[in-house]
């Protein structure tokens, strides 16, 4: 062999996922997460069952395009409220991320919450981390099959219940349960229950941290909102390094390299390598490290919520906290406050009544008895509240202007009706051509329910 052949290696561009077995941990932040979990999930699973004035309290009736939220009925015309709500959510995300990093991801995101619930089930059935690892390594036998089967069955039941609760926001949940018992589910209900159940089962049971790592767009753009003064979960290098077992005469830091922080991490990273995009800010490593520090009687907080600047410049706690109130945080807070106040006032002064005036195009104007001029309009009246009202129609804007049709009309709750009305002015009143007039609609029993709408009255030459 005078000329050596180059040694060829095959490099794979796609890698199989390595299973992560997060160790169960108890502590301050774990408790906080469970509190968030209970709060959010009590709302999610419970809300469809709540009744309000004889109907489901929160129901999004897509077929009728009416959205009931407690005392409010929103119509497609109220889309601006949804837009405002989404803007509020976005600014809240900006603000929280600027202050404390990915707190949403770590404590409230459904992906985290459901993964936590699924992990809890997994631990109850398959045992702690080491037992789960052992179970996965061992060959299939009756016991393994039983444990795996029980786990997936439990996951499936929870997932289906989640799917049912989700669809219960769109189909009244009592009807939905009736349809299931009588096997009368509609095709779309079946699809969405199956889809949402499968998504829950797949994302919380199988995909887990991969959703955050590869799919979630928020996870990625939150990193652009983090700066040097954002509270993030950090390992204190200066205090911890060099890491190693204590008591061998070597000069070591506080980190005893027990790897507990790695074992509890739901995304399988080592926080000691610094801030990484995989970190969802769940603070499990803080709980783990603090429990170890307690055991070795070292000060707590080797891993803690801190800022990049505080770690590098050794800032004291008050110094670090003062820096939280930096301009971008104040700006986000101010904007959020303005939008929230605007949103709430919009909701508060919202009139449950809408009026569209459509002038008849076929008929410009007619001359009727005594030379009076008549125009025809169609009033599209939307009683968006739930109480039926008798409305009085009034018209103003030209001298002697009056309705020639009945001025009162009954409209049921949450109903739209088009009412043709004829409006007259006496001969010689109003300018030739277009005149601006105003239609006013008032509920007879409640003058607060009132709406005005501009229109045009045409007087021929």
């Amino acid at each position: 062999m005078d000329k050596p052949q180059p040694d060829i290696a095959i490099v794979k561009m796609y890698a199989a996922r390595e299973e992560i077995y997060p160790r169960e941990i108890k502590g301050r932040y774990a408790s906080l997460r469970w509190i968030c979990l209970w709060l959010t999930q009590l709302v999610f699973y419970g809300l469809p069952w709540l009744n309000w004035n004889g109907r489901q309290a929160v129901l999004f009736d897509l077929g009728a395009r009416k959205f009931y939220i407690f005392g409010i009925v929103l119509w497609p015309q109220d889309f601006i409220y949804l837009a405002a709500l989404l803007i509020i959510c976005a600014y809240a995300l900006f603000l929280f991320t600027a202050v404390a990093g990915r707190v949403w991801c770590g404590f409230a995101c459904p992906q985290t919450v459901y993964t936590e619930i699924f992990l809890w089930i997994e631990r109850r059935i398959e045992g702690p981390r080491s037992a789960r690892m052992r179970l996965d390594r061992q060959p299939w036998n009756a016991q393994k099959a039983f444990k795996k089967g029980a786990k997936h069955a439990a996951w499936a039941i929870l997932s289906i219940w989640t799917g049912l609760s989700f669809v219960g926001y769109f189909t009244p949940i009592h009807e939905l349960m009736g349809e299931i018992l009588s096997l009368g589910l509609g095709p779309w209900e079946t699809f969405w229950i199956a889809f949402y159940s499968f998504a829950t089962y797949g994302n919380a049971g199988w995909m887990r941290e991969q959703v955050c790592k590869y799919m979630c767009p928020y996870a990625r753009f939150q990193s652009s909102m983090i700066d040097k003064d954002t509270l993030i979960i950090t390992y204190d290098h200066q205090r911890g390094e060099p890491r190693g077992a204590k008591g061998k005469g070597a000069q070591t830091g506080d980190c005893i390299d027990c790897s507990m922080c790695v074992q509890v991490c739901p995304t399988g990273i080592d926080i000691r390598n610094g801030l990484q995009y995989e970190c969802i800010g769940c603070a499990a490593c803080i709980d783990a490290c603090n429990s170890v520090m307690t055991k070795i009687e070292a000060p707590l907080g080797l891993i803690r919520y801190s800022t990049e600047r505080a770690i590098v410049s050794r800032l004291s706690l008050p110094e670090m906290r003062r820096r939280v109130l930096r301009p971008r945080v104040l700006a986000y807070t101010a904007l959020l406050a303005i939008i929230v106040v605007a949103f709430l006032s919009m909701l508060a002064i919202r009139t449950p009544l809408k009026l569209d005036v459509i002038r008849d195009r076929g008929v410009m104007a007619r001359e009727v008895e005594d030379g009076m001029i008549e125009n025809v309009y169609r009033l599209q009246i939307m009683n968006t509240g739930e109480t039926p009202h008798r409305f009085r129609i009034a018209v103003s804007g030209i001298d002697s202007i009056a309705l020639a049709t009945p001025s009162e009309v009954d409209i049921d709750g949450a109903t739209t009706r088009a009412i043709p009305v004829r409006v007259r002015v006496n001969a010689g009143k109003g300018a030739h051509g277009s005149n601006k007039i105003i239609f006013e609609l008032i509920a007879v029993d409640n003058p607060a329910v009132e709406v005005r709408e501009k229109a045009v009255f045409f007087v021929p030459r």
């Binding site: 490099v11 561009m13 796609y14 996922r17 008849d360 076929g362 008929v363 043709p420 009305v421």
Partner: protein, 312 residues
């Protein structure tokens, strides 16, 4: 898809589509693993680079995507092939399911008929006057009217020039419920021929116009009306000797003050001179008998229901 003059282009497009899809598959398969040279004493897989080096030391790191991601790509290829097999997409091939966008509207209509049909059919079994007394049918009828009739007859059904007022008791073809229904179902074609030649001079036309206006005691010249009276015999064939009209022909009653085109002398003269041609379209094939039934009840109720009495 038959817009092409040559069958070649269908094959060309189908070929391009198939080759592109298969090409994606080959690219995916060939790029999921790369071969690279091992340098002595170094395992490139452990270094985590793709082995590509530019500008002396710029190396491309290999951060492998999860493997299921790759399977998603393969699934899109399977999906594409299945879609092209089932639905139209490959050249002029119509797809196994035979789905057509032109049939989507028809199937929506069928669905709506299945849902609302029974309601309308229930009314169809009832007498029109009974339907007119039903408050729900009234609301439905009002909506149908505002959608299909209001463009010509006005939202308040009082019509305008050339379009009859439907709220009064004056009917061109008769105001019985069944006649109204027939009018909506089959439409009407009202024709008044030009009478200028038959009447003679322009003076005769003017005289007849004044006579016509005298029938309803509208503003007219009594002397001219007297001269016009003899010539009106020509008109009497349709409008009747006393000008009361003929509903069998749709000839308007000239002895009331209701005018379809206007009751001034000039307008009446124009009508006589040039004639009138008026069309009410037929709605049977468009709306179906059941909806027309409800609509007829609504129109009849406009001039007969007690709720309308106070409106004059």
């Amino acid at each position: 898809m038959s817009d092409f003059t040559s069958g070649f282009w269908n094959i060309y497009i189908a070929g391009l589509t198939i080759i592109s899809i298969l090409g994606c598959g080959i690219l995916l398969w060939s790029q999921s693993k790369v071969k690279m040279e091992k340098k002595p004493g170094e395992d490139p897989a452990s270094v985590g680079t793709t082995g590509h080096v530019w500008d002396v030391d710029l190396t491309e790191l290999n951060t492998p995507m999860p493997r299921w991601w790759m399977w998603l790509f393969y699934i899109t290829i399977v999906f594409a092939l299945a879609y092209l097999f089932l639905y139209p997409g490959l050249g002029s091939y119509a797809g196994k399911l035979g789905w057509k966008s032109s049939e989507a509207y028809q199937s929506e209509l069928k669905k709506a008929d299945a849902e609302y049909g029974p309601l309308f059919n229930k009314y169809l079994q009832q007498d029109i006057k009974a339907v007119a007394a039903d408050p729900q049918a009234h609301v439905i009828g009002e909506r149908l009217f505002l959608t299909y009739c209001a463009q010509c007859h006005g939202s308040d059904a009082r019509g305008s020039k050339g379009f009859p007022n439907l709220t009064d008791k004056d009917w061109l073809y008769g105001g019985d419920p069944d006649v109204i229904k027939t009018t909506i179902l089959h439409g009407r074609n009202g024709q008044m021929p030009s009478m200028a030649a038959a009447l003679g001079s322009d003076k005769d036309v003017e005289n007849v116009a004044h006579y016509v206006l005298s029938l309803s005691d509208s503003t007219h010249d009594p002397i001219k009306a007297v001269f016009g009276k003899s010539k009106f015999a020509i008109c009497a064939g349709c409008h009747g000797a006393n000008g009361a009209g003929n509903q069998a022909l749709g000839a308007p009653n000239l002895s009331d003050k209701i005018w379809l085109y206007g009751g001034g002398v000039e307008t009446v003269m124009e009508t006589i001179r040039k004639g009138r041609n008026n069309t009410m379209p037929a709605f049977e094939s468009f709306l179906g008998e059941a909806k027309v039934h409800v609509l007829a009840a609504y129109v009849w109720s406009l001039s007969n229901a007690p709720s309308n009495a106070d409106q004059k």
